[in-house]
Amino acid sequence: MSISLAKGANVSLSKEEPGLANILIGLGWDARATDGEDFDLDASAFLLAETGKVRGDHDFIFYNQLKSSDGSVEHTGDNRTGAGDGDDEVIKVDLGRVPADIHKVAVVVTIHEGESRRQNFGMVQNAFMRIVNEATGREISRYDLSEDYSVETALIFGEVYRHGGEWKFRAVGQGYQGGLAPVARNFGVNVG
């Protein structure tokens, strides 16, 4: 059975799924049913060292840089409307190939042009992040974002991290009102 996490909570993926090697990080949300601009949510991943920062700009995986240099993290492509059931964007992580000096993979979701379209996460329905064992297709854990008060346009949705020899997943659900730039800067990426 999949473990549903509350904001802030964590689960050991290694304990729940012994022998886990490859995971799919699935992100989903509902297409806009009301009038107005579509919700275009973009997933990105930051490979972070023990310091909480990227080693270089190449550790920032997003729609313009779909794969990490070592191949351990791969973004499978952009979905611009949220159309379709299930995962709208997927990031694959080969846990065994994640470099030893990478402590954490933070998964961030931003609303494309959220400011100019006057959109925030409080308006997006049924957004979720889930962790799936790629080999079996089994969902190990999920985090359903259920915050209708949220004013952020960029959200650190969750993180997959090393802890005592295991891989864990934490539901973070914290972010910024300024879009992708402040998140990227916080993680040490040079953005214009």
């Binding site: 904001k7 802030g8 909570a9 964590n10 952020e152 650190i156 973070v172 659900g173 972010g175 009102q177």
Partner: protein, 191 residues
């Protein structure tokens, strides 16, 4: 070596610190980097009698009552954001100066306005509480709040208690729902 506690662990540390004279309890966490209300963690201490209650409200040491028992217990000040390295709040206890009718000293950590701010320990980065032997600085026990108490907003960390003329430390590591007010009331404080 410090004993790192997991959920609900109950460890007797008399072997680690025989003849314990004074301890410091340290509470640390990282400042919030995301948008939203600051994370404000508070350390509190309760001096309890044999019955498990405070003798008076003065035995409740927290950010608005920094000293008790003629200075045997001293809270070194409130930190509202987690700014700074290492321990962000420290409470020191001189065991030999505690009155004879204090049988137990309980240490707790709470998140200020956790309900209103919709916060829990798991949202706070690198939050911990630890107890250090003031003589020599050896860490006796530590609890990783971010990781192992992630969905809690308040926790009873541990207690010092008298045993055969000595003070011993027992780790408790149990969550408490309701925050600082209800926790203090549970020990007989009028708040």
């Amino acid at each position: 070596m410090a004993v790192s506690l997991s959920k609900g662990a109950n460890v007797n540390l008399s072997k680690e610190a025989p003849g314990l004279q004074a301890v410091r309890v340290g509470l640390g966490w990282d400042q919030r980097v995301t948008d939203g209300s600051d994370f404000d963690l508070d350390a509190s201490v309760y001096l309890l009698n044999e019955g498990g209650k405070v003798r008076s409200d003065a035995d409740f040491v927290y950010f608005n009552n920094l000293k008790a028992a003629d200075g045997a217990v001293e809270h070194h000040g409130d930190n509202l954001t987690g700014v700074g390295e290492g321990d962000d709040e420290v409470v020191s206890v001189q065991l030999g100066k505690l009155p004879a009718d204090v049988a137990k000293v309980v240490f707790a950590v709470t998140i200020y306005e956790a309900d209103q701010r919709r916060q829990n320990f798991g949202m706070v980065a690198n939050a911990f509480i630890r107890v250090v032997n003031a003589d020599g600085g050896t860490e006796l026990a530590r609890y990783d709040l971010s990781e192992d108490a992630s969905t809690e907003t308040a926790m009873v960390f541990g207690e010092l208690y008298r045993h055969s003329g000595e003070w011993k430390f027992r780790a408790v590591g149990q969550g408490f729902s309701g925050g600082l007010g209800p926790l203090a009331r549970s020990y007989g404080v009028n708040v």
